[in-house]
């Protein structure tokens, strides 16, 4: 995955907060940005890991 810059991340956070109906305060933004940047960077380590299309996610639901 490619890196996302702070400006784009802030726009994403504000849009997502609107979509999820989470009220944001400006003072929270730096910490939320830092946390989300860490999550996305960490996710990058497995996001590009090749798995077959047929691979099943771990949780199993029994009907």
């Amino acid at each position: 995955m490619s890196e996302i810059d702070d400006q784009a991340l802030d726009a994403y956070i504000k849009a997502a907060a609107g979509a999820l109906d989470i009220p944001l305060e400006d003072a929270w933004m730096p910490a939320i940005r830092t946390n989300l940047a860490i999550s996305l960077r960490i996710a990058g380590s497995f996001a590009d890991f090749e798995l077959p299309d047929e691979s099943e996610p771990a949780p199993v639901f029994e009907a």
Binding site: Y12, A43, F46
Partner: protein, 461 residues
């Protein structure tokens, strides 16, 4: 009984009439009164309930009735377990406004069914999203070995209460390491069973696809006693296994002959401090474990656990983030809000990776019965500490406490964390077994204890 008696010693003394449950309970309550002002392990002490239960145990013995295997043993639970009559706060400010729980959690019922006596609910990191044992609402739980240091979390009060000799047994939860981290920092034995082994009904969740419950104690035998008492199916928890109970006590003293034990290298050595490596070497030597193996893609496994955790945590708390954001610990709030915004595609990929990783690791258990790994990279940090030195580099502390526990709980493997009594502070080693083989990990832990390679040290209280 003296303060650091094990559950097994207490139960035996009561069964033989050398001690009464009432006397043991009063002694534990007095010790809580004396030390908990500093340790801050308890958030609620259920003194009257405990006294009533103790009287019932003593009356049963006087009447010649059979006593359970934990008769008269005091215990306490992380405050995310439902305790009848108390709101289940889960370390939060918000949840303490909930109505009191109407019933106890099944694991409390099962321990009490074996004769144990509940003394109260224990401090924890807010909503279990924590490795430190610090809590902005209730204050930090403090490590009995050095009260200026962390207990580890999120089952911080569970670690502090047992290490401080307030109770011989406590229950905690472990999503990414929250039983094993406080066991390591507080010098205790901790069992994180196989995912799905013990019912989680009537406990406040964190990450449904990763949550486990289990005991912390001062000996492997006490873990086995509690674990055996708590096993069994429960339709209230859809993840709970329908397997019949598989008691660990019968084989506890079987020794380690014939067991193939390897040491996890690679990822599990690179991030470890000198104490962690020293403890690992001591345990490996005591077991004659010389084979080194590598868990494939452990770093990616830890990453996937991290992403599933933040996403599911954010989803769980979404309504509260909308309406009560100001009542969270700000550090928890900001992580949960960002977690709610992690793209779903990444979470599904993490769950797909989880299945792949599980298959790779299970292949290792065709060759080995158990794998040893450090529990934490470091001994207990100071309260409030933000960074740590690792390989000469300053790194964020909180993000690194769970690096060795996360890749294991990610695929639900059973683990016993054993305490190596280094000076000045203890540190834990993980004994990791194949799914549903808690008995193997407990047997190894018991052997190490008999060989005096591991021990729950007494703190200078």
């Amino acid at each position: 009984m003296e303060a650091y008696s094990t559950a097994a010693e207490i139960a035996e003394a009561i069964a033989q009439g050398r001690a009464s449950a009432t006397a043991v309970t009063e002694a534990a309550l007095a010790r809580i009164e004396k030390h908990d002002g500093v340790l801050n392990a308890f958030t609620t002490v259920t003194a009257e309930r405990a006294r009533a239960k103790a009287r019932a145990v003593d009356a049963a013995r006087a009447a010649g009735q059979a006593l359970g295997p934990l008769a008269g043993v005091p215990f306490a639970v992380k405050n995310l377990f439902d305790v009848a009559g108390i709101p289940t706060r889960a370390g939060s400010k918000i949840n303490r406004e909930h109505a009191p729980a109407s019933k106890d959690a099944p694991l409390i019922e099962r321990l009490e069914g074996a004769g144990a006596i509940l003394l109260g609910a224990l401090n924890m990191g807010e909503y279990a999203y924590d490795f430190t044992g610090e809590n902005v609402h209730d204050g930090p739980s403090r490590n009995p070995h050095d009260t200026g240091r962390m207990t580890g979390g999120s089952s911080g009060g569970s670690g502090g209460a047992v290490a401080g000799g307030l109770v011989p047994l406590a229950l905690g939860s472990d999503t990414n390491g929250s039983i094993r981290v406080p066991s390591s920092f507080c010098g205790l034995f901790g069992l994180k069973p196989t995912y799905g082994r013990l019912t989680r009904a009537r406990t406040f969740p964190f990450v449904a696809s990763l949550d486990h419950l289990g005991p912390l104690a001062r000996s492997a035998r006490d873990l086995a006693l509690a674990y055996d008492a708590m096993q069994g199916p429960d339709a209230e928890d859809p993840v709970c296994t329908t397997r019949a109970p598989e008691p660990a006590l019968p084989s506890l003293g079987a020794g380690v002959d014939g067991l193939r034990i390897a040491v996890a290298g690679g990822y599990f050595e690179r991030g470890a401090g000198v104490e962690a490596l020293s403890a690992l070497a001591r345990v490996a030597k005591a077991l004659g474990a010389s084979a080194r193996i590598e868990l494939p893609e452990a770093a990616r496994a830890r990453a996937a656990a991290f992403v599933i955790t933040t996403s599911e945590g954010g989803a769980l708390h979404l309504d509260r983030l909308r309406t009560r954001a100001g009542d969270f610990d700000p550090a928890t709030r900001d992580r949960l809000i960002s977690g709610a915004m992690v793209p779903g595609a990444l979470v599904v990929k993490a769950q797909k990776f989880r299945r792949w990783y599980r298959e790779q690791v299970l292949k290792l258990f065709e060759r080995y019965d158990a794998i040893l790994a450090p529990a934490t990279p470091m001994t207990a940090p100071k309260l409030g500490q933000q960074t740590m030195m690792l390989d000469g580099v300053e790194v964020p502390l909180r993000a690194n406490i769970g690096i060795f526990t996360q890749p294991i709980s990610f695929i639900g493997l059973p683990v016993v964390c054993v305490p190596v009594p280094l000076q000045p502070l203890p540190i834990g080693v993980q004994i990791i077994a194949a799914p549903w083989r808690e008995d193997v990990a407990l047997r190894i832990a018991h052997h190490l204890e008999a060989e005096q390679a591991v021990k729950a040290p007494r703190p200078p209280l």
